[in-house]
């Protein structure tokens, strides 16, 4: 029989380290708590040493990485809290509940900080829905986000939907949440004050999401608990799925915010992965205080739970608060009104002279001590691994990573592999799909803040306001982005380009990027090549964020993602938040207005390396340095972002009015705007055409490589004033080229593409329902 710690997922070395930290053998309960706290998911043991390289500071940052969420100052004594998290593996087992509890978990991270959650985004990655199992997963995931998000009352305003066979068995479900708080409501998860009460709020604790820990109670160990031998009981001890209850969470949000407003809690922390083990040890460790927890006081859903099960249960919709004894009655009153259960389950106790900040688990107050560990050894002292990094062989010619130098003509690599094979019409019809089938299942308008919802503009745009914070003219723009194809070929540059795209997306709505969170979805960290991808990706993100002055205020790492025995493509996801200082009308949206002119800002590199169109004609997955990605010129990109932010920002109400200098502009200079990314100019134009049911005739794009290149730093603008706009752009050092004019019912691009707008609309709209309206688990 295998050793307990191995079954619980700890290595022999890790087990030795536990013994060293404790100065003795851990008992079962302690072992269970170390095993969950030292898991990859909770301890970031493989990634932590790399994450430190990300820039996390700016004058606006109030709370950086390390807390439950990052907090950024947006002026007027208001701050925003943002965070993103993955729920990949639970979603593979039970897509509805996996996605639902993913949304629930990230929402708790936000209101833990004192912020009212007001927006979600859900970057999703699955295999192609043509395969029934993928359709089943995607449908379940979308219904889970919809079921939970809508009911808990947090609108889902954006997201992504990416298909690749590498996600067949391992869908990625990332969920981002944004909240708004008055700066003085900010609280941190730090326990303090000897004598203060530890109060558990919300749901009862059941056997949800208990992983390997249940084996401690299994018959195999023949110990005290496992004696009943009842078959149905042992079946019920199997690891079980977490079920979300959005109604409980909704009441928990209201109760937590009410408690914070009334200044009734000293500290508060959500319960997520590793349940009470995590929340108690983190609260104690961060606050450097000792804590006693009384198991008898924890409301249980099932009477016969063992101590390890109770302490590691991942039952959803629970929070842990530190409350002064005198305030508990008031806490009870608020909780009773809002129908939230509140139980005192422990106390902050005086430090023992020689062992500081002990976390003790007692059977009951004054009862038997079942576990006794320094809190920090659980929360902070998991081993950190500097895992082996193996660059792929042969690395070939190392690509100039991020070139800050401006582009010169000979910099243009002309990788037009496949360009002779690509049929424009055919490629477009294969690549286009309309995600509205997904986001129409999400409430994206709650709080009447949504100025641009999903699908309308390059970023979602929300009024900066909540039920308790009045709108003052400011708005937020949100975009989430990923580019696994690019990251597979060159994780460093690919990630930098992902950051660049996300920042440009918010700029297209007139916002200045002010913060970023990321979710690093990678394969098995014990594979040297995966660690290389991870490390490179972090460097690419770091460089891009430094150059664009965007602080990384939080993130999440999900490793061991693999399907059919193969690691997934490296999938770093970023979400950028932008701030619009003043808005009094809707930003230009994706679309076309007949009778106007289309202008391309930025230059196209004729390079199909890593592009979606080229991928259609390749049989294998993109591999490291299979070809050379398009360049990213950061100086230029930064200039482009600045220009677009000002151009759009001043049109929608900004003060820095670059439009003032422009006589002869009656009305909007920019009627529509869309960045060029997935599918290149071809897909950007199709999306614009479909949105307005208006055609265009493009004469300025001459080659397939131009049409499908996904080189960064480009934007298409629709305008009534082409001369004025091109002159203005050029004055700001932005190349601007007139590429065609709008009107009619066809999208025609020289001899490269010729399609009816109604046809592409129909095809793209039908893609998802065709496969998702009928789904089975297979």
């Amino acid at each position: 029989m295998e050793k307990k710690h191995i079954l619980l997922g700890l290595t022999d070395d890790e087990f030795d380290l536990v013994k060293e930290k404790l100065g003795r053998e851990p008992n079962d309960l302690e072992l269970a708590m170390y095993s969950v706290m030292w898991s990859e998911h909770c301890s970031y043991k493989s990634s932590r040493i790399h994450l430190g390289r990300l820039p996390s500071e700016s004058p606006r940052v109030l709370v950086g990485p390390g807390e439950n969420a990052g907090v950024i100052d947006v002026g007027d004594n208001i701050a925003i809290a943002i965070r993103i998290e993955s729920h990949n593996h639970p979603s593979a087992v039970e897509p509805y509940q996996g996605a639902a509890t993913g949304a629930g978990g990230i929402i708790r991270d936000i209101f833990t900080m004192g912020a009212r959650p007001i927006a979600l985004m859900d970057p999703l990655f699955t295999g192609f829905p043509e395969k029934p199992h993928n359709a089943y997963l995607l449908d379940g995931i979308v219904k889970g986000i919809s079921g939970y998000g809508n009911s808990v009352g947090v609108p889902t305003v954006g997201g992504n939907l990416v298909f690749d066979a590498c996600y067949n068995q391992n869908p990625l479900v990332n969920v981002f949440c944004l909240g708004i708080l008055p700066k003085d409501r900010l609280v941190l998860g730090r326990a303090s004050g000897v004598g203060n009460l530890v109060v558990l709020l919300g749901s009862s604790t059941g056997r949800d999401g208990i992983g390997g820990v249940s084996i401690l109670a299994s018959a195999a160990f023949g110990d005290e608990e496992g004696a009943d031998g009842n078959a149905s009981q042992s079946a019920s001890k199997r690891p079980s799925v977490q079920v979300g209850d959005p109604y409980e969470e909704k009441r928990l949000i209201e109760a937590s915010l009410a408690l914070l407003d009334a200044h009734l809690v000293v500290a508060i922390q959500d319960l997520g992965g590793a349940g009470l083990a995590c929340a108690t040890s983190e609260l104690a460790a961060r606050g450097r205080v000792a804590m006693d927890v009384y198991l008898s006081e924890i409301p249980l859903r099932e009477a016969d739970m063992t101590p390890p099960e109770i302490m590691t249960s991942e039952s959803q919709e629970r929070m842990l608060a530190i409350v002064k004894p005198d305030d508990f009655e008031s806490v009870q009153k608020i909780c009773q009104k809002l129908e939230v259960q509140a139980s005192v389950i422990g106390r902050i106790v005086p430090d023992n002279a020689d062992c500081l900040s002990q976390l003790r688990i007692l059977s009951e107050s004054g009862g038997k001590v079942l576990a006794d560990m320094p809190a920090a050894t659980l929360a902070d002292e998991a081993p950190k691994y500097n895992r082996k990094i193996t660059p792929p062989q042969p690395l070939g010619e190392l690509q100039d990573l991020i070139s800050p130098t401006s582009r010169s003509a000979d910099n243009h690599s002309t990788d037009s592999r496949h360009s002779h094979e690509i049929n424009g019409n055919d490629a477009v019809l294969k690549l286009l799909f309309d995600p509205s089938f997904v986001y129409e299942q999400y409430d994206h308008q709650l709080f009447t803040n949504t100025i641009c919802g999903p699908g309308e503009a390059d970023a979602a745009v929300l009024k900066l306001s909540t039920p308790d914070i009045a709108f003052t003219g400011k708005a937020l723009a949100l975009s989430s982005d990923a580019n696994p194809n690019y990251c597979a070929i060159n994780p460093r540059l690919g990630t930098a380009i992902t950051v660049a795209e996300s920042a440009l997306n918010v700029a297209c709505t007139g916002a200045e990027p002010i913060g970023l969170v990321n979710c690093l979805n990678f394969g098995n960290p014990e594979h040297g090549e995966v660690m290389w991808q991870l490390s490179e990706s972090i460097d690419g993100m770091s460089e891009a964020c430094k150059q664009l002055d965007i602080p990384v205020v939080g993130g999440n790492v999900s490793l061991y993602n693999a399907s059919e025995g193969k690691d997934i493509l490296p999938t770093p996801v970023v979400a950028v938040v932008g701030l619009i200082e003043n808005i009094d009308k809707q930003p230009p949206v994706i679309g076309l207005t007949p009778g106007e002119t289309l202008i391309l800002l930025g230059t196209t590199e004729q390079n199909l390396c890593g592009s979606a169109a080229a991928r259609l004609y390749e049989n294998s997955s993109p591999s490291p340095h299979a070809c050379t990605l398009p360049h990213l010129d950061m100086n230029f990109h930064k200039r482009l972002i600045g220009f677009i932010t000002e151009l759009v920002g001043s049109q929608i109400g900004g003060s820095k009015n670059i439009l003032k200098e422009l006589p002869g502009v009656a009305g909007d200079l920019v009627t529509h705007i869309h960045d060029v990314s997935f599918g290149g100019i071809a897909l950007a134009l199709c999306e614009m055409a479909i949105k307005s049911q208006c055609g265009a005739e493009i004469t300025g794009i001459n080659t397939t490589a131009d049409l499908f290149s996904e080189s960064p730093s480009r934007v298409i603008v629709c305008t009534k004033f082409p001369e004025i706009l091109t002159a203005l752009a050029e004055r700001h050092g932005i190349p601007a080229q007139i590429i065609g004019s709008t009107g009619g019912k066809k999208l025609q691009i020289n001899n490269l593409l010729d399609l009816d707008v109604s046809d592409i609309s129909y095809k793209s709209r039908m893609y998802l329902p065709t496969y998702l309206e009928v789904t089975d688990r297979e």
């Binding site: 919809s146 009911s151 009352g153 109604y247 209201e254 809002l338 299942q441 409430d443 709650l446 100025i451």
Partner: protein, 221 residues
Amino acid sequence: MDPIIKIVTFPGTNCEYDVLKQLNFLGADAELIWHQESDLGSCSGIVLPGGFAHGDYLRPGAIARFSPIMEQVIKFAESGGPVIGICNGFQVLTECGLLPGALSKNDRMRFICKTVSCVVKTSGSVLTSAAVAGQTLHLPINHGEGNYVCDEETLKYLRENNLAVLTYTEDVNGSVEQIAGISNKAGNVVGLMPHPERATDPLLGSTDGQVLLRSFIEASK
């Protein structure tokens, strides 16, 4: 006595502040009232707003109808006071019997959030008095269970009395006769699935919901 509109809030309700904000924006006095209250206080009109009262478990509105405040709401409605139920509020109104029929799951079994076209069928209700019969409005819908069902007899009753005050211009969720909203015979109790409060602020696009909220504010004076 100043006219005050009461917006009933159940645990799980989530559109109460949106309704409050937009009623204020249109110049009305309004305030929230918690479902456990058993006294309406000074009240000239009642809104049951959208959301997921009691999580919408079992059936939307099924549990909410037993809240203490509902007895008062029913009395107020029976005495002719203006009462509107938006989305989840409509579901509560049918569950508690103030309006006939029921709202079942959307026929495609999916939640729908989008803007749809509706036609005002009659101006004979507190929600449509300022509108013109035949007028088309673009209104956001946001529901998983908005598929209006009723038996033949009820349908006949609705038709004969012209009580389907608002209908969709196309089939969006399977509702019989594309019903989006109905009123009682007196016209003082109206339930509708679309969210007029989401189409009131010009910065958010459509302002077609204003005419409905204005009618209601007028009736609540």
